[in-house]
Symmetry: C2
Subunit: 333 residues, 2 copies
């Protein structure tokens, strides 16, 4: 294993220090427990939108802390859920009187620890709601999951829920909106190479030279099937078909298409994939009205991509377009 | 080789199509010859700032086309210089009466082809100036280079020259400013893994499991030496020392620190490296006043990083801070 680290046990906190130095105008960090918090939190009168999960998926979630998106992120160890007390500390650091929404990706450890944290925070007198993202259509259950996994839809939800909180929506309203987004977002991923977790020191799985994992999870969990590598046109058709037929998305739908790099994919390939995906959606009568292309929910250095489709309406489009100022997403600022 | 492509011969143009679909508000493309052009070009009364070079370094240069940065980018085949007629076409597409500045990275093919293009454009009646970026302190000459290579400093120069053009500086003034930036910017890189060029089909070089290439070039060219992998603190000290002692940067200097991913480096490691670099510069009395952290000049999926230091003064800081609206960099918009 070759990595630019000092010690696997300090990699997360050392990385957070760099994040804080690079973006001191947007966020601050705490080290014990590890937190990433908006510099202006708590924001009076606004619902605090909080997410978190294992590290190794950067810029998720710390890179999405800032105006118009998350109020705090709770990074666990690499591919490990954050503890309940860390999540509770994030609520304490950001909740004003308007309550807090926890955005939880559907992994067993995250669900349990965020649930406990919500109980602790409620005992402190903060009104807390939780939503669970389970947008990955690849498999029904998975290595760390009862039910579907939460993947790329989380990024879109964090933007839209953050925008709703910013405009002053009530906790009820932000929660309802979050549930609506979760209901109409779907994702699928594919891996060409495995990631290497620092404390493991070896690749998480092995793929043959001509083999790819269709339906990969963001921790390198197995997907639907291992298949032979294929040309981009065929691969994108496979990915688009899996997502579109699930909701299903239909002729006439307007969507946000999020073409995500799993971390190690060259941007040259990512934009190529995005272009094909847009074309294939167009052929099905689905109009791409908004796009996000880049490495936004990753699995360390894993090569691969995921596609996320969110069915848009006027409200969601408007909330997507509002200003955001985070380390990873910035517009209207 | 596993890549998300259809055919090595069409990868650049297919990728450009995706870029154009994703960012139609900012740029348009031409396919023959391949160009990326600001939607509002030519911009009346403003110097056209143009760059280009081999593809495979995305988001360089097409990702930097837009308000406040490049007016056009000329992508060659992967790791291959664009042809003179393509560069000439970029000048024709963007030059208003104010002339054009060509930003050329110091590689033999680029220098020759941009020089020929400048002559062709001058024959067409456009006033053209060229500047050559040679900021890489790693080696004196290199595989594709007489003199030092042009690397990360190019990104910073494109922002600052673009800002000067946007505020209406004359061609003389933009050129003088570009030469000033080139005079006070220095870079060094390191690779942990090689890239794989699509039409080659095999990794560009081989490194042992515990070996890294110190002073790597952005095409995988050899650097200063192959060394054993070392902890991040030691590696960053080595990188910082190489850059700081070259100009040299001195106690009391104010700088922009650009911590760049070569493509495949996890963001977790990149921010960790950035944090260490800031600390080491501080220990030398060098104040980091601006930062850029991310994959901005890459070598396909190569894992590794580069550090670029630009000595700042009030003028450069002010130009860095002006609004920019490109696929890869966006602020103040």
């Amino acid at each position: 294993m070759k990595k630019i680290i000092n010690d696997p046990s300090t990699v997360v906190v050392e990385s957070l220090r760099g994040l804080a130095l690079a973006h001191a105008d947007i966020l601050r960090i705490e080290e014990d427990p590890a937190l990433v918090v908006r510099t202006d939190a708590p924001v009076a009168g606004k619902v605090a939108v909080i997410s978190g999960g294992g590290s190794g998926h950067e810029p998720l979630h710390g890179g999405f802390v800032g105006l118009g998106m998350l109020h705090a992120a709770v990074p666990g160890a690499v591919f490990t859920s954050p503890t309940p007390d860390a999540v509770q500390a994030a609520v304490t650091a950001t909740a004003s009187g308007a309550g807090a929404l926890l955005i939880v990706k559907n992994y067993t450890g995250d669900v349990l620890n965020f649930e406990t944290a919500a109980e602790l925070a409620e005992a402190d007198g903060v009104e807390v709601r939780s939503v669970i993202v389970d947008d990955d259509v690849a498999v029904k259950d998975s290595t760390y999951t009862a039910g579907r996994r939460g993947v790329g839809g989380t990024v879109l939800l964090e933007k839209i829920a953050g925008a709703a909180a910013e405009r002053g929506d009530s906790l009820d309203a932000v929660e309802a909106l979050a549930r609506k987004v979760i209901g109409q977002v779907r994702s699928i991923g594919v891996a060409l190479t495995p990631p290497t977790v620092p404390h493991a020191g070896e690749p998480s799985f092995t793929l043959a030279d001509n083999e790819i994992e269709f339906g990969i999870g963001i921790h390198g969990e197995p997907g639907r099937e291992r298949i032979a590598a294929e040309p981009a046109d065929a691969l994108l058709e496979r990915l688009v078909d899996a997502v579109v037929t699930d909701l299903p998305f239909a002729d006439g739908d307007k969507v946000l298409l999020f073409t995500n790099s799993m971390g190690g994919t060259p941007l040259l390939e990512l934009y190529l994939a995005h272009g094909i995906a847009e074309r294939l959606l167009g052929e099905r009568g689905i109009t791409v009205e908004r796009r996000l292309v880049g490495p936004y929910i990753t699995s360390l250095e894993m090569q691969g991509i995921s596609l996320t489709l969110l069915k848009l309406d006027d409200e969601l489009t408007e909330l997507w377009d509002t200003p955001v100022n985070t380390a990873a997403l910035r517009w209207g600022i």
